[in-house]
């Protein structure tokens, strides 16, 4: 049997990429800055958002989509701050995709929103492949995990604009080499921005808030808003 090879140059996830591109256009047209928060389960994404929302003025036009395989626990935790929060329950899927975001945004007026956080499903692998139309991915690594995580899960550390090193209040109690973790992240992604924080004590949270404002500003300038 003879065969003919036909070249086929396109991304595997082109359908998701198309949806993400539509989302990005909608975010841009409405002046929404969107961050996709990714980490292992238990690194502190929800605690980070609690700290973040708790620090915002009630007039702040911010909203949160939070993804989990099951339960609306996170939406309940985050809903207490008075900002719009929606839970996306993936019922088994290990990541959020563009279609889920598109559906979850239904009924929200993006024109009344400046900042959107998407808390992805706790997982360092699968969410990496799915563009959600965000302006930046933020990866959280906590000091109760291993320093080698950036090397073990290079994809997300390569794609993330910022790495948050969380739970630094626990450094005296755990054998975590913070400098090694930084070096490992920089090996995978030279120039990655790194902030040290503790969502428990609030240490470093101001730097994170400043980072958000600066990133949103530079994004707005880049698109000429």
């Amino acid at each position: 049997m003879t065969t003919t090879r036909v070249p086929l140059e396109r991304k595997v996830l082109s359908e998701n990429d198309r949806l993400a591109s539509d989302l990005r256009t909608r975010f841009r047209d409405n002046g929404v800055f969107c961050l996709n928060l990714i980490s292992s389960p238990g690194s502190g994404k929800t605690s980070l958002l609690e700290r973040t929302l708790g620090s915002f003025d009630p007039s702040r036009r911010v909203a949160v989509l939070t993804g989990d395989i099951q339960t609306d626990c996170d939406a309940v935790r985050l809903g207490r701050f008075g900002f719009p929060v929606r839970q996306i329950t993936t019922a088994g899927a290990c990541h959020l995709d563009g279609r889920m975001i598109d559906r979850a945004l239904e009924g929200w007026d993006l024109a009344n929103m400046d900042l959107l956080f998407i808390e992805n499903v706790g997982n360092l692998v699968c969410p990496t492949s799915y563009d959600l139309g965000e302006h930046a991915k933020v990866v959280t690594l906590s000091v109760t995990e291993g320093e080698e995580k950036p090397l073990k899960y290079p994809g997300i550390f390569f794609k993330a604009k910022l790495m948050l090193l969380n739970k630094i209040d626990l450094l005296p109690y755990v054998p975590f080499d913070k400098e090694l973790a930084r070096r490992n992240a920089e090996t995978i992604h030279p120039g990655i921005e790194i902030l040290e924080i503790s969502c428990t004590t609030g240490q470093g949270v101001n730097d994170w808030l400043k980072w958000i404002e600066a990133a949103a500003r530079s994004n707005a300038q880049a698109i000429g808003a």
Partner: protein, 81 residues
Amino acid sequence: MHELGIAGSVLEAVRERAATERARIIRVGVRIGPLAGVDRNSLAFCFDAIVKGSEFEPLALEVEDGAADELALSFLDLEDQ
């Protein structure tokens, strides 16, 4: 764990092409970079599982090395008529 979804997207691309292609598609090539976060064995396992019983059976998957986080369809092999 998301390899099943990726296998589904690959098969969907084959299905799209098959709609306008008279020759039978016998192999699909996918390029995967080291930072794509896709496990090749798992993808091959999922791909075989969803091809089985479909109109494309037997359809082979060939994985090639890609750059960085690349995850792309690279080619289709068509049976000559």
